[in-house]
């Protein structure tokens, strides 16, 4: 972001960076930066809170008044990253013959569809769409249970993209399943990896691929760096 700020400024456009890593803003010294100690992925701080978002913008635009740069100002509010656990009810088992994770993935389909309809867009689709999720989860179950990932014919052939689609499918469906306030930062990540069958399968499959001696790009990005099975 800071590099782009310098590039745009050189082209004659004034820039304001909403900084998320303070050390980087100091190091690269963009012309104007408002450092926001907000959860990563939430540069305006709080979803569904126009008043807070406007506060961030007002402080950002105020930096345009500075006569010289670089300017680095901190937003006074730090939004905590620690998540309150969400209340998110999963459907009961429906087809006992299926692996629990596959059954679960099928069970949340209607919730996913409702959210996709409401938003008019979905982030599922990098290598599979929603129809492909149960079969993809089934492939990961096989790998977690000992099948060789090289011959498992994972849909799309890219573990990072595949796990992105599976997790997005779950996190989007969750928006229809949660009760109470909007999920906090990383609350749905915690929910997916710690409380769903499929989240646990993703971590187990990742662990199995790692132990098979695969190079790190094959397994590392299947889940956040801080997650382990």
């Amino acid at each position: 972001m800071s590099v782009l700020a310098h590039v745009f400024e050189a082209a004659g456009i004034a820039t304001i960076v909403l900084s998320s890593v303070r050390e980087m803003a100091v190091k690269t010294a963009p012309p104007r930066a408002l450092h926001c100690e907000f959860p990563l992925g939430r540069p305006l701080g709080r979803p569904g809170d126009p008043e807070f978002q406007h506060d961030v913008l007002a402080r950002a635009f105020a930096l345009l008044d500075a006569p010289v740069g670089p300017v680095l100002v901190d937003h006074p509010v730090a939004v905590e990253s620690d998540a309150e656990q969400v209340s998110c009810t999963l459907p009961p088992r429906f087809e006992p013959g299926l692996a629990p994770a596959v059954d679960e993935a099928k069970g949340i389909r209607r919730a996913y569809d409702r959210v996709a309809t409401r938003r008019g867009v979905t982030s599922v689709g990098r290598v599979i769409n929603a129809d492909g999720v149960p079969a993809a989860v089934a492939s990961l179950v096989e790998i977690a249970e000992g099948a060789d990932w090289r011959t498992a014919e994972l849909p799309g052939g890219n573990t990072t993209a595949l796990c992105h689609d599976i997790r997005s499918y779950y996190e989007e469906a969750a928006l229809d399943l949660v009760t109470g306030p909007l999920p906090g930062p990383r609350a749905l990540e915690d929910w997916f990896f710690e409380r769903t069958e499929t989240g646990r399968v993703v971590l187990a499959a990742r662990d199995a691929i790692r132990k098979s001696g695969a190079k790190s790009p094959v397994w590392f990005y299947m889940a956040p760096a801080t997650r382990s099975s």
Binding site: A14, A60, F61
Partner: protein, 150 residues
């Protein structure tokens, strides 16, 4: 250490290029300025080319579009907030409100999206795709850009 603390600790060790004699533009008054958003969230429309891993290019986003996919490849940040409210990454509705209230001059007709996960030397961004995106915004009469990271 939670996920954000881990990513911030990691990111703070990454190399950052230095800029000699950096430019500093004094913009016209905010109420007369045209504002564009430039994000590193790899946003794109469903009909546009998806971002590949290591994509050094950019996508232009029409002001009216809200059906935007968060195409960033990293699993290490919270994506759920964007699914709840795109303004938390791409505050386009807030800009429209500010323009309607006369706080800013205008919302730019097109906005820009890059992928935040770039090669360490960021040379394409710096010397090719970045200047090309800036030229596109200049052609639209943009005075100020707000850069939003994920």
């Amino acid at each position: 250490m939670n996920g954000d603390q881990a990513m911030r600790a990691h990111s703070s060790t990454l190399p950052g290029p230095s800029f000699d004699s950096p430019a500093f533009v004094r913009p016209r008054p905010l109420a007369e300025s045209t504002i564009a958003i430039v994000t590193s969230a790899a946003l794109h429309t469903p009909d546009d080319a998806a971002f590949t891993g290591g994509d050094t290019g950019y996508r232009l986003i029409d002001r009216a579009r809200r059906d935007l996919i968060l195409g960033h490849w990293s699993p290490n940040f919270d994506r759920s907030a964007y699914a709840m409210d795109l303004n938390v990454v791409y505050p386009i509705d807030r800009l429209e409100e500010l323009a309607a209230a006369g706080v800013i001059g205008a919302v730019a007709p097109r906005h820009v999206s890059f992928a935040g996960n770039q090669p360490d030397d960021v040379s394409t961004l710096r010397f090719d795709s970045g200047p090309a995106a800036a030229a596109a915004l200049r052609a639209d009469g943009v005075d100020v850009v707000l850069l939003t990271p994920v």
